[in-house]
Amino acid sequence: MERRTLLGRLSWQLGEVVATRPETARTKSITLDLPGWRGHRAGQHVDVRLTAEDGYRAERSYSIASPPEEAPRVTLTVERLDDGEVSPYLTEELRVGDKLELRGPIGGYFVWEAEMGGPLLLVAGGSGIVPLMAMLRHRAAAESTVATRLLYSSRSLEEVIYRDELDRLVKRSAMLAVAQTLTRAQPPGWTGYSRRIDLQMLREVAWPVAQRPLTFVCGPTPFVETAAAILVELGHEPARIKTERFGPTGEKHDGE
C-alpha cells in the first residue's frame, strides 16, 4: 500500500535461456539472460507468453526464484503438470539458446526485502516454495540476519525443490531454521513431520504471536487457505500474513 512509485509500461521482452537445471523429476529451473531487466524484488513474478507459429498464444504467471542480486539474470522454477499447456513446454521443450518472451516484474505486495526486517515466517506448499526461495536467496545475498523460519510441505523427499541449497542455507545462517513435512512418503529415518500442515505443527514452528512475524504463505489454494486460517486462529495479525495462491482448486492440487 505504501509503495506508489509509478512503474513504467510493462512491455514484453525476449530473454535468452542460458541454463536449465532439473530440480526434481517434475520441476525445472530456467535461467534467462534479460539485458533490459530493470530489477525486481524477492516475491514478484513475471508473465510468460508462448506463441505458436500460427499465432496462437498462451500466457501464464511464474514467480521469480532468483534474488534481485542476480539481475539481469532471472531464474524461474516451473513444475510440470502433465495435462497442462504451458508448463510441459517450459520443462520439456525449452532448451539453452531458446528465447522466451516475458514481462515483469509484477506484484508489489507479496514481497520481502531485507530492510523490512522480521522475524520472518515462510510457509510453502509444493512449488509455492519458489517466491519464498527468492526471499531466502535475497536474505543470504544481502547478508541479512533477520530471524527466519521456513515450513515447507512436500509429498515426498524426491519432490522437495532446492533440497541441497536449503541445507546449505541453514548451515550458513544460525538465524535460519527449516522445518519440513512430507505428506505421502517418508524415507527411513525421517525426522521431520509426516502429515499435512495443521494447528499443532504451526504452533510448533511459527514464531510466538507476541513477536509479530511477517508471514508469507504460498502454494496451491487449499494449502494456503488452511495455513493462513490456522495462523489467524493462533492469533497472528491478518494484516501481517501475505498469501499467494498458485493454480486451480482441483483435487490434484490437494493442498500439498
Binding site: R4, L10, T51, G55, Y56, E59, E101, G108, F110, R245
Partner: protein, 203 residues
C-alpha cells in the same frame, strides 16, 4: 515484437478455432474456480455484517444482513475474467444490483471505492457500476457464497477483471475524484477492461 517471434516447438493445446469469441485476449478457459487474495480469508459473523454507502452522499446509508435481504434481488449469469489469465463461463450469482442500492442515496460523485473486511479496496468510475453492470452478490451457483470466494458477500462487476469484484465487501465510498484501490496502487491497471487487456499500469 509481436508477429515476429514464435516459441520454437510450441503448438498450444487449444487451437484458435476452438477459442470461443467469449474469451478475451490472453485468457484461457478454466472449469475450476481458482481463489486469489492477498491475505487470510476474513471471518465476519453475519450479526456483525453490514453494508454501507458513505462518502459524497447526502445521508450515509447502512443495511444490516437482514435488511439487505429485504431488497429486491436479481439472478445474474455472466462470464468472469481474472487478470491471472483464467476465464470462467456462465457463472451464476444472486444478489442486489448496485442500481437498487445507489437509488437510496443522493450523490454527485463520479467515482466509487469499495471497501472490505481485511482492508482490501478497489476503485471504479460510478458509470462502470450503474446501469445493470454491478451487484452485491451473496449466492454462487445456488449456494451461499463460500468464504474463500468472498462470502458472505462480494461485489460483482463481471465486465472488468475480477480483482474489481471485491471479496468480503462491506461498503462503497463515493468520491468526487478517483483514488486508486489496493491492487491499483500496486501496479495493476486503474480500469481493468479484459477485452482491452488492461492488466497493468500503462496497458
Amino acid at each position: 515484437m509481436s508477429g515476429e517471434f514464435f516459441s520454437r516447438g510450441f503448438r498450444g493445446r487449444r487451437r484458435k478455432s476452438e477459442l470461443s469469441e467469449r474469451l478475451p485476449p490472453g485468457q484461457y478457459l478454466e472449469r475450476d474456480f481458482p481463489v486469489l487474495s492477498a491475505g487470510p480469508t476474513p471471518q465476519t459473523p453475519l450479526a456483525n455484517w453490514d453494508f454501507s454507502i458513505v462518502g459524497e452522499v447526502d445521508q450515509p446509508k447502512r443495511w444490516s444482513w437482514d435488511e439487505f435481504h429485504t431488497l429486491p434481488r436479481e439472478t445474474i449469469t455472466r462470464d468472469i475474467h481474472c487478470v491471472t489469465k483464467w476465464s470462467k463461463f456462465d457463472t451464476h450469482w444472486e444478489g442486489v444490483s448496485l442500481d437498487t442500492l445507489l437509488a437510496q442515496v443522493a450523490t454527485a460523485a463520479d467515482y466509487v471505492i469499495a471497501f472490505c473486511d481485511g482492508g482490501y479496496t478497489t476503485n471504479l468510475p460510478l458509470e462502470e457500476v450503474t446501469g445493470g453492470k454491478a451487484w452485491i452478490v451473496d449466492t454462487y451457483e445456488g449456494e451461499p457464497l463460500a468464504p474463500e470466494h468472498g462470502g458472505p458477500a462480494r461485489l460483482l462487476v463481471p465486465h472488468l477483471y475480477f480483482w474489481k469484484s471485491a471479496k468480503w465487501v462491506r461498503g462503497l465510498r463515493l468520491l468526487d475524484e478517483d483514488e486508486p484501490g489496493f491492487w491499483e496502487s500496486l501496479g495493476y491497471n486503474n480500469h481493468g477492461d479484459p477485452w482491452k487487456e488492461e492488466r497493468y499500469w500503462g496497458d
